[in-house]
């Protein structure tokens, strides 16, 4: 075990824990935001730079501070380490910069984006960004393309987190899409017109932190906050069959994997469960799904910054449409 202090709060964690994981154990108030890291995907993280933190004391043995901010998702703790996240002015400044970079070419088309309401980029910019943009250049745009019959790629919104590429590498049998070109011209693409079609391809939708990969079967059906997520399961020979069903009235509009408190998929689900089982009778419905803080359904998120204890209190009952309207 090793002791680490983050924003003045001490915690003891097993050796090999990353700073991000340690911070998450303390709670959301000190956990750095993460756009590209996903704990279920190996080698993820390190790209977006939103989780940069300041290590003011390296360890008990070697107390020298680290010269640069470090990505908390890829830096393991040392005994006696002291870390500044929100308490570090350097971190706050750098993060503001990262948000500005990520939004520089983002279309900000939230009003017509299916991800709106559960978008990590919305949260990130709300919590860490500034209200103004300083660019007056034309934004980078791409044409929308279908990668398969059920998934749409809207590259213009992509922040190049590489999660979907890692999903394809790690949980599907064959990767068809990838990152093409380089630098500012980088894009997620299949290069030639190609279909990403295999049993687990739909998971790229769930891991996408923004609205770049969306479920075509849900497209424009409803705003997220007008649907009610319910945990459900079925016997499936390909995956665990544990999902969230998103209801509008009696109708199942969407099926997704279940996400944890950090908006990360808990268990990847197969395409049959996701795309082909849209009848309530296909499922055993368990209970209302807990709402993670990335969902707008987590109540008043955009009015008051929600404290961690409030998340926990709020997870029990999603608002109905009527309640929401009030």
């Amino acid at each position: 075990m090793a002791k680490v202090t983050i924003d003045g709060i001490e915690i003891e964690v097993p050796e090999g824990t990353t700073i991000l994981q340690a911070a998450r154990l303390i709670g959301p108030e000190v956990a750095p935001p993460a756009m590209c890291y996903h704990s279920k995907l190996k080698t993820s993280g390190g790209y977006c730079r939103t989780c940069l933190v300041e290590v003011t004391k390296g360890s008990e043995k070697d107390p020298r501070p680290m010269p640069k901010l470090v990505p908390s998702c890829r830096t393991t703790i040392m005994d006696g380490m002291e870390v500044g996240n929100k308490s570090s002015a350097k971190v706050v400044e750098a993060r503001k910069g990262v948000v500005e970079f990520l939004l520089l070419n983002h279309p900000l088309d939230c009003p017509i984006c299916d991800q709106a309401g559960e978008c990590h980029l919305q949260d990130l910019s709300y919590e860490n960004g500034t209200a103004k943009t300083r660019t007056d250049f034309e934004r980078r745009t791409f044409n929308k393309i279908d990668i398969g019959s059920k998934i749409q790629l809207h590259m213009t919104r992509c922040i190049l987190c590489y999660r979907c590429v890692k999903v394809a590498d790690q949980i599907t049998d064959k990767r068809i899409h990838g990152v093409l070109n380089r630098g500012e011209a980088s894009e997620i693409s299949t290069y030639i017109e190609n279909v990403v079609e295999n049993d687990f391809s739909g998971n790229v939708i769930d891991v996408c932190p923004v609205g770049a990969l969306t479920d075509k079967t849900f497209r424009f059906k409803s705003r997220v906050w007008f649907t009610k997520p319910m945990q459900a399961h079925r016997d499936c020979d390909k995956c665990t069959g544990k999902v969230n069903l998103w209801f509008k009235g009696e109708e199942v509009l969407r099926v997704t994997g279940r996400k944890d408190q950090w908006g990360e998929v808990e268990e990847f689900i197969c395409n049959t469960c996701r795309f082909d089982k849209k009848k309530t009778s296909d499922w055993t419905v368990e209970k209302p799904a807990p709402i993670n803080h990335h969902s707008v359904i987590s109540a008043n998120h955009y009015e008051v910054f929600v404290k961690p204890t409030e998340f926990k209190l709020n997870v029990v009952k999603p608002l109905s449409i009527e309640e929401k309207a009030n």
Binding site: K174, R175, I176, V179, L180, N181, R182, T190, Y191
Partner: protein, 181 residues
């Protein structure tokens, strides 16, 4: 699909690829991807079509997307057809200081094309590039593997003249590039 089946390296190029693969440990044949793409580009008119990249991927037993990802990353790989003579003019600092812009402008006027374009007869393509490591002999341009340094506009003229008459394709590598054993 019939076009895909037609794609194959010449026996010499195929043999070269096999030789290069042996430079890397067993099972690490993907390491030969960049050299193999170079060979493919030299074999197939100076650019990499999707079927050509698919062929390369099949030789190295990797997914086609892995070849596309790599080919699109490196600036020497052309993903669109280029002229028989690809003129690459360096324009970074030292070359710029010594008049690279004049060279580019001169070629543009002379060939009546802009940076990135190919002459209608498919003979010349002009591409501006970043530092080629010839700063002490600036300005310079590269055609195939050949560096042309300490350029004057007259030198540029005679180069274009020379290539106008040639039936060759500009290439980065030839039979003598890699050793035979």
């Amino acid at each position: 699909m019939s076009e895909v089946q037609k794609i194959a390296f010449s026996p010499e190029a195929y043999e070269l690829v096999q030789r290069l693969i042996r430079r890397y440990p067993e099972g690490k044949q993907k390491a030969a991807l960049i050299p193999t793409l170079h060979i493919a580009q030299a074999e197939f008119d100076g650019w990499l079509s999707a079927p050509v990249m698919d062929y390369v991927a099949s030789l190295l037993k990797i997914q086609p997307i892995e070849a596309y990802e790599v080919a699109s990353f490196y600036s020497m790989f052309n993903l669109k057809p280029v002229g028989k003579c690809l003129i690459e003019v360096c324009r970074t600092s030292s070359c710029w200081l010594r008049g690279a812009n004049d060279v580019v402008e001169h070629i543009e006027k002379k060939l009546n094309i802009k940076d990135g374009e190919t002459t209608p007869d498919g003979k010349f393509t002009l591409k501006t590039v970043e530092c080629l490591g010839s700063c002490g002999t600036a300005p310079m341009l590269q055609i195939g593997k050949q560096f042309h340094e300490n350029l004057t506009l007259d030198k540029v003229d005679s180069l274009i003249e020379e290539w106008s008459k040639s039936t060759e394709h500009s290439k980065y590598l030839d039979n003598s590039t890699f050793r035979k054993n």
